[in-house]
Subunit: 342 residues, 2 copies
Amino acid sequence: MIGIKRLAEHLNISIGTVSRALNNRPDVSEETRQRVLEGAAELGYVANQSGRSLRQGTTRAVGFMIESGADPGGNSDDFFLGVFDGAQYVLGRHHLDLVVLPCSTDEDPALYLRRMVARRIVDALIISATHREDSRVELLSKAHIPFIALGRTATASDHPWIDLDFEGVANRAIDRLVARGHRRIVVGLPNNDINLGFVFLEGVRSALRRHEIPFDPSLIIRVASSEAGGYQLGNEALVIKERPTAALLIYELMAIGLYRRLAEAGLQPGRDLAVIGFRESPLSKFLSPTLTCFRVSLRDLGISLAQALLASMPAYAHLYPDGAVHKMWPMELVEGESDAIL
Amino acid sequence: MIGIKRLAEHLNISIGTVSRALNNRPDVSEETRQRVLEGAAELGYVANQSGRSLRQGTTRAVGFMIESGADPGGNSDDFFLGVFDGAQYVLGRHHLDLVVLPCSTDEDPALYLRRMVARRIVDALIISATHREDSRVELLSKAHIPFIALGRTATASDHPWIDLDFEGVANRAIDRLVARGHRRIVVGLPNNDINLGFVFLEGVRSALRRHEIPFDPSLIIRVASSEAGGYQLGNEALVIKERPTAALLIYELMAIGLYRRLAEAGLQPGRDLAVIGFRESPLSKFLSPTLTCFRVSLRDLGISLAQALLASMPAYAHLYPDGAVHKMWPMELVEGESDAIL
DNA sequence: CAGCATCCCGTAAACGTTTACGACGATAAG
DNA sequence: CTTATCGTCGTAAACGTTTACGGGATGCTG
């Protein structure tokens, strides 16, 4: 593979000048710059990032960490692809590449991330699925590595984050169900310590308080964020004495499982049990009955994430003067047939 | 961030010795090696990959390219996560990291890949969704960059690839439908030049030939690999004179759309139209009626891909003496209710 | 005791960039 | 004519590693 040295002697120019020409520095004549660019194209020269990183202490790439192994199927993955798309759009304008870092199964995620930064694979990070107490945000903050979290932590500190407004949305969902006459509402939460579960629950409790409905802990059911979890939730919900009339599910996959369990019991969602699920997915409107849920505009979310990340990177902060962001991301109600009037 | 030099003077050892100790070279005493390891742990030293890459000409990472923007929702993405998981398992044993390279929307994929290798982001590549004529395999072959393709190309040459056995599976599906009395079978193919569409069609034609059923081009319908595409396929299928009695769909998302279109026409899949879809996804068994489809063990596929890739990398080839691989990946029938007897 | 092999370890070059610094010629100002 | 300014370019150091090479100490053999 050809380096800058070979390119320089091919053109009979010093390598310093070649470098300056390629990097659009001012102190090189327009004529030689053209020669250099043509020569580079001709020889197929592309800068070796190792050398560049070593000198500049910076790689032009940011990492996006997804949770792959941990919770398979937990998020139907149009989510990530949509967010990617937006983030990549913004980062691409700055010639930054976006690489995806899978969550290694047998390594501490925080250490893995530190390693990827120290190895100069990426300069900055987008992390998602933050847990209640998340070792990643602690380590990244302490190490002063630029990052943004999709999701808060319990001790939401001063690092930049954007979080889906699960609290607000839980409130609106409860309002809607109560307005339709429901008072016993079962709530499906994830059975791990992912933070949005707690946020969601908080929203439910505050809404119930507003409507002066006593909080019944037996209506809170924690299951896997999967179809199987939804099925199990159905199992547990059906044996609750004083049967609930509505269900609020934090993942749309749970809805599929719940639908199935209800069908087995000869019950029909939307008639025998009102169902509201988060988040809208490609499935939602092909379920029967169609699922009432909340939509988040994925691409815009990715764009905002990338912008907030850039704002927290010293080299780009001046372009995004709003500074590091703490933002609640709104979600929009999508009416389906699954939450009937009592 | 602390480098090897600081670590060396902290220990009063030369940096050469420190490097040798960390890399498990033989010519360093066991005692000093221990001291070095302890010191590294104490100071939190982790090798800078830029320096290492520059010296060795190698980064310990391989890239996995997915198609993100091009065909949104084309593959429901449990597919990629499953394959990842397997690939990462194998690569991790060799201390290789796996990074995902999204398919940039506004850049030629082949050039993008070349850039990622030249920039020393990755050493080798796994590419997927190969097209009929794929500029990526041409460029990567020519540049002697180690890679493996998930999917053949039209001019399937001597580069390593693993391909889902769409031809065999098309044969089995046709056999099954014919055995159940169907003779007019509509086939849903993707409307781009992704190679598996052609392979699939080839399988269909050979099966029809075996059963001495004339090939009717009007039964081949090319649509987007999405739910919307399936709906459109339904539109077109319903107006075919001499109505087909069965449908073979290359993507399971098409099945959802087709189901919907049939419902609107008052028809029921599995009774009025037999449906077989590829590939099994989390959805398949929650459709009603459940979808007959074919299963591929994703994790094993990822494992095989990684092994074949390693076999084609000079530094690892000796560990996988089977050499570069051309392999057809088997798929297993999952019986559902959607392909009725005529 | 000379000679030799062995075991460790230090020295320094090399990888491909970027960039501070200085040099050179040409032009403008005094 | 001298001096300052400016535009352009070459030189060389630096980034953090790895590794070929050589050298000193030690033990062994003859």
